[in-house]
Assembly symmetry: C2
Homo-oligomer: 204 residues x 2
């Protein structure tokens, strides 16, 4: 199972790292999560660099592709060469976006005639593509989904994990990151130890 997270210069940190962290919590040895870009390293909008695992061209062969967000999306949607390299097909892939990553999906023509969600500051730009923007955390049409507001990564990755592994795996993954006493109980130690916790050596 190949899962691709698309980054670029000017990405929003949490919209890369929250999906990355969540996708490692179900302990799936056959899953390979790869951060893809157009350079060996990309720098977030706060100045933090991340090393990529490969180029965006390989997203065409992934089973799941999630597009991150950030001010950097504005350059991507005006770059025909970039868009030509990012070949996505919701007929055979799960494809999703966080926040302004929806602009990239729209620029690829994938949101034509569909509803979608995006970050408040990107609503006007997404509407300009003819997309019907709705004020929801998560909007799905078959294998294509948009999520908005950083913590809606739980909806987006939850959808992926639920589709691939079932609702129980999704619930356990999401439980593992909730605040103690607000969704995560001390009594759940054994349960969460079956997720990423034990992979990480026993505790987080």
């Amino acid at each position: 199972m190949r899962i691709a997270l698309i980054v670029f210069d000017g990405f929003t940190d949490i919209d890369l790292y929250l999906p990355w962290d969540l996708l490692h919590r179900p302990q799936q040895p056959t899953w390979e999560v790869r951060i893809l870009g157009t350079a060996a390293e990309h720098v977030s909008s706060t100045g933090l660099p991340v090393r990529t695992h490969g180029m965006i061209d390989e997203a065409a062969d992934a089973d799941v592709v999630l597009i991150g967000s950030g001010n950097g999306t504005r350059a991507l949607i005006n770059d025909p060469a970039y868009l030509a390299r990012l070949r996505l097909d919701p007929q055979r892939q799960l494809v999703g976006s966080m926040c302004s990553g929806a602009l990239v999906l729209a620029a690829l023509g994938l949101l034509d005639g569909l509803t979608a969600t995006t970050y408040p500051t990107a609503v006007t730009a997404l509407t300009a593509y003819g997309v019907q923007v709705v004020e929801e955390p998560f909007v799905r049409h078959g294998n294509l989904a948009t999520a908005a507001g950083c913590l809606a990564a739980q909806d987006l990755v939850g959808w992926v994990v639920s589709t691939l592994l079932g609702d129980d795996a999704r619930d356990l993954m999401l439980q593992a990151i909730q605040p103690v006493g607000r969704g995560l109980a001390f009594a759940a130690a054994d349960e969460v130890a079956t997720t990423y916790a034990s992979r990480a050596g026993g505790a987080l």
Copy 2:
């Protein structure tokens, strides 16, 4: 204002990157957020490297120090040389921990006689230090706080921002990362544009 985030090999990704992201949302040009460790680079429990900005020794001079979590904390608490380098003083610094980062605070003797919270899988180890572990997302004693469950980073960083900038700045910061339609409204675009959104170039 010097803010230090402490990392180490085997850190939990989200417990570093969620605080990092949040701390950049209030646009404070005088704030310097630095990731501190004991090497030029540390690798998370999922295998993702992060470059450090400095060594843990400089945490002694920071105004705020937040200790991350992860299985790597187990090595730190048994390393007297490490603990001797990490000189923290809640009398003159805000000091906090995420999840099993509380074990480091306990090993430094900072939680003696206090209540604290930690990740479910670290409760036994923290209790062994004589700490009274309580099932709460956030526990504060003056300038010293523990938070547990990854999304409780909102409580921990919220406390820091509320203390330094006030409750309104905290509320705006937290609003900016909520899911659209579940805490973040499209109508808030102008408001969130006064946070990290505009610093990042207009949208996330």
